[in-house]
């Protein structure tokens, strides 16, 4: 078990380094985009004085390196700064500088919670469904079921997400008004209602991620079917289902876990199109909006969350893969 602890610490250390590099890359990239927050927010009617005033207020007149270092110093202390958009709003209504300004954390947390809720609902549907279809496809390999499952999942992964979303809306919201097509959830909503509103985007995302996980499950299991211990299990007179679930699946877990983790990370970081279609207030939309108006602190924070999701989920997958190997779990 000592080796697992060492791997975790090592990977967390590397993860921090990754976050640092990500923050530099994103900061540089946003600065290289034409225009800044002041120009973006004032638009056509911008006077040079107004632009300069806002720049001064937000510190945008400072050189990028010192701005980055300042942000980094705050971030290390856990302060992700203030959203430009919120700050601007506060100063326009004439209140004291700083008063009533929403921090990045305040902006982000509810959005992040929504994103996690959507990812969670999707995972709760997609992971068991993919595993079950994958196991069944391996059990009845080359049968009609196997071919239909493969074709259906491949079709759904090959179609653009928004297209899948509109098809689901057409069938589940328009033709049969079972589910709401708008997912405008808000704080204080009951769990049941929230779940109902989240259902359509969750189903869309399920269609997107199932193929990958299901095909890996099938392939990893079939890969093992020629092993001597599978032959042994068959020669003990066990049913084909038991051979696959009890003898093949536990040994096929490592690759499956890794694909599941990749897809879960995608659910947190890559769902902006689906959020837009369903007007779901998740982190993806916030991110796109913030890039549009060059709201650097929010962009930075979003990217750090995305990167952390990848790092942590992959780390978790690696740990689970190690733990799924009895040789490592039970040393000699």
């Amino acid at each position: 078990m000592g080796s697992v602890t060492r791997i975790v610490l090592q990977r967390l250390g590397l993860g921090l380094l990754t976050l640092f590099i990500v923050s530099i890359v994103i900061f540089t990239a946003v600065n290289m985009l034409p225009g800044d927050f002041a120009e973006a927010i004032l638009g056509q009617g911008a006077t040079p004085q107004a632009v300069a005033a806002i720049r001064h207020d937000l510190g945008l007149d400072q050189p990028p390196v010192s701005r980055y270092l300042e942000w980094l110093a705050d971030a290390v202390r856990g302060d992700l700064g203030t959203s430009f958009a919120q700050a601007n709003f506060a100063s326009f209504v004439g209140s004291d500088a700083g008063a009533g300004m929403a921090s990045v954390a305040d902006t982000l947390v509810p959005r992040f919670r929504n994103t996690m809720f959507l990812a969670g609902v999707t995972a709760a549907i997609a992971v068991p469904v993919s595993l079950i279809i994958g196991v069944l496809a391996a059990l009845y390999r080359n049968s009609v079921f196997d071919k239909v499952a493969n074709m259906a999942t491949l079709t759904s992964i090959s179609s653009p997400e928004f297209f899948l979303a509109y098809i689901l809306i057409l069938f589940l919201a328009v033709l049969n008004p079972w589910l709401p097509s708008l997912s405008n959830i808000y704080d204080g909503m009951g769990f049941g209602e929230r779940l109902e509103k989240t259902m359509l985007p969750a189903l869309t995302l399920t269609l997107v991620v199932t193929a990958h996980m299901m095909r890996m499950t099938r392939a990893a299991i079939i890969n093992l079917l020629a092993s001597p211990y599978i032959e042994m299990a068959r020669l003990k007179g066990l049913s084909p289902m038991r051979v696959i679930v009890r003898h093949a699946l536990p040994n096929a877990l490592a690759p499956i876990i890794n694909v599941v983790a990749l897809n879960l990370a995608y659910l947190i970081t890559g769902v902006v199109v689906v959020e837009v279609v369903f007007v779901y207030p998740g982190i993806g939309q916030l991110f796109v909006d913030s890039v549009k108006i060059r709201d650097i602190p929010v962009v930075q924070a979003c990217c750090l969350i995305f990167a952390s999701a990848y790092i942590l989920l992959n780390l978790l997958a690696d740990i689970l893969s190690i733990l799924s190997n009895p040789r490592l779990r039970h040393p000699k």
Binding site: A226, A233, K236, P326, R327
Partner: protein, 550 residues
């Protein structure tokens, strides 16, 4: 039921295997009768169809194979026409299987005892608690250490010989009428093999189980079987009871199998006093990580002679080879070549020093690049070491192919997958010869081959030694091979040399006790050998125990 009717009756069994789009015959009409309590030995070389017939006796064929004709009648029921459900009801319960490699055939994800209880619980023979208690009893009967506890370990936590006995116990879990043993001791060392053979025989006797015992080792089958059936390329050669078969084989093929063990080289004169050894291993201590695998190993190898390094797996034989070739720099000690010390790391050796020492590997399959043609495999060292190109290189490769008795016109452009096991090993030899070395390390070069093929390789190596004055270091665990070709013998155990000397002295008593154990553990053709040996050693003083005492 009628006691005279055979338990298993196979008639005109035909099995085909798919090759691309066509079906090729693997087994061409085998008949077989097996009575209750009888053990039938099934022997032959690889490709003879032994395992295929053994599995077909259970109504089972591997993927890509099919039973194309004949019948397999087990206790009145034809398994060829039986439904999958009907077969499943028999498998594990009345017919059980013991596979070649227990390490590969136990599921790594579950405890041994959970795999043991699976068949009895599935077939409603016992409930889980009863089956566990029964498993512990069987473990005790098979003389496994800590029978109450060993089942709760995972397969990788138990040694190979113990796993093989646990698998025999697992086959016994439902007290089947028939067990198919598929080369159950082939992967084991000789000393471990004895424990497993003794355990199998004891339990088969005790429960009066009928068995099909598949092996390519004649001496083993002589100990285990009441009757022997010899197979060759899917056809039966002959069947007779064991003693008759051993004493009076009627077919030429059977006689040739029997004769393999008689190959031996003439004894060479002793090494002249004071001559410089070609390779001298001096006090080598080596380690993988923190674990010492060699401790102060020293021995000499003289020009034109064959030194056999013997010992069980894990004794450090191959590690010595890695130190000599410089792949594993030793922690202390050194290797001298022709009187001059060699740099410990191969990266620091000159090209000429590298050229002088070549290796031939155990698994020709994995030692040859599957995507490279034979001519290029041999041509590469010709170009690299000898600097030959174009026509000169081609001519040299043709010479080498002729030396290993493969026709250059036929084989130059072939891929390794188009060659048989023995031919691949010959290519491995040619690749080593291409560097024109003086010293060749042969690492278990015949242990993956059938006896007739292995004999061909040994004869080839002997001829090349005579013609080219080569020196061989021959790593092996097979003492029959040692007897056949060695001039000197080095016996290793736990990373140390326990005994060394000329072959004649080694095979003449008195021995070091470990050498004695190794020698006495090699099965002999005498069908009473195992019985006598067990009586001599005392039933409880086998393998593990005997080794521990030293």
């Amino acid at each position: 039921m009628n006691d005279n009717a055979p338990l298993l009756k196979i008639r005109d069994l035909r099995i085909e295997g798919r090759s691309d789009e066509t079906w090729l015959p693997i087994v061409n009409g085998i008949d077989l009768d097996l009575h209750r309590g009888e053990v039938l030995g099934l022997i032959g070389e690889s490709g003879a169809g032994k395992s295929t017939v053994g599995l077909a006796a259970m109504g089972f064929t591997r993927d890509g194979c099919r039973i194309s004709g004949g019948s397999v009648v087990f206790d009145g029921q034809d398994l060829v026409s039986a439904s999958a459900d009907a077969k499943r009801a028999l498998l594990g319960k009345r017919i059980a299987y013991v596979a070649q490699s227990a390490a590969a055939s136990f599921n790594p994800a579950h405890k041994i005892i959970d795999q043991h209880t699976e068949a009895p619980v599935t077939h409603d023979v016992m409930d889980k608690a009863e089956s566990q208690a029964d498993a512990m009893e069987l473990y005790a009967k098979l003389r496994l250490p800590n029978p109450d506890e060993i089942g709760f370990r995972y397969p990788h936590q138990v040694s190979g010989g113990q796993l093989q006995r646990a698998m025999t116990a697992m086959a016994m879990s439902c007290r089947p009428d028939l067990i198919v043993f598929d080369e159950p001791t082939t992967a084991l060392d000789v000393t471990t093999q004895i424990e497993v053979l003794a355990a199998i025989r004891r339990i088969v006797d005790e429960f009066d189980t009928a068995a099909i015992y598949i092996t390519h080792d004649l001496a083993v089958v002589a100990q285990m079987a009441d009757r022997i059936k010899v197979l060759l390329k899917g056809d039966e050669v002959e069947t007779a009871d064991t003693r008759t078969m051993l004493a009076h084989p009627t077919e030429d093929y059977t006689k040739s199998l029997w004769a393999v063990r008689s190959f031996a080289r003439p004894v060479k004169p002793a090494v002249a006093e004071g001559s410089v050894p070609l390779v001298s291993v001096r006090g080598i201590t080596a380690a993988y990580g923190k674990v010492d695998v060699l401790r102060d190993v020293s021995f000499d190898m003289h020009t034109g002679r064959t030194v056999a390094v013997v010992g069980e797996s894990g004794s450090g034989k191959s590690t010595v080879a890695r130190c000599i070739t410089g792949l594993l720099p030793p922690r202390s000690g050194m290797v001298e070549f022709d009187g001059t010390p060699l740099p410990a790391d191969y990266r620091k050796r000159t090209k000429d020093q590298l050229r002088q020492i070549q290796m031939i590997y155990q698994m020709a399959d994995t030692a040859l690049n599957p995507k490279t043609r034979i001519g290029d495999i041999i041509g590469r060292p010709v170009e690299f070491y000898m600097g030959l190109k174009g026509r000169a290189k081609r001519a040299r490769v043709n010479d080498l192919l002729n030396q290993i008795e493969l026709d250059p016109d036929q084989y130059y452009h072939r891929l390794p997958s188009e060659l048989s096991g023995g031919q691949k090993q010959r290519v491995g030899i040619a690749r080593a010869l291409a560097a024109e070395p003086r010293f060749i390390i042969c690492d278990e070069v015949t242990s993956a081959l059938d006896q007739l093929v292995a004999e061909g390789i040994l004869k080839l190596l002997a001829r090349l030694q005579d013609e080219l004055g080569l020196t061989y270091m021959f790593i092996t665990h097979d003492l029959a091979t040692v007897k056949a070709i060695a001039d000197e013998v080095v016996v290793m155990k736990d990373g140390k040399v326990v005994e060394q000397g000329g072959k004649a002295e080694m095979f003449r008593p008195p021995h070091h006790p470990y050498t004695d154990l190794l020698l006495s553990s090699v099965p002999e053709m005498d069908p009473d050998w195992l019985t006598d040996l067990l009586a001599e050693r005392g039933a409880d003083n086998l393998g593990d125990a005997a080794i521990d005492k030293m």
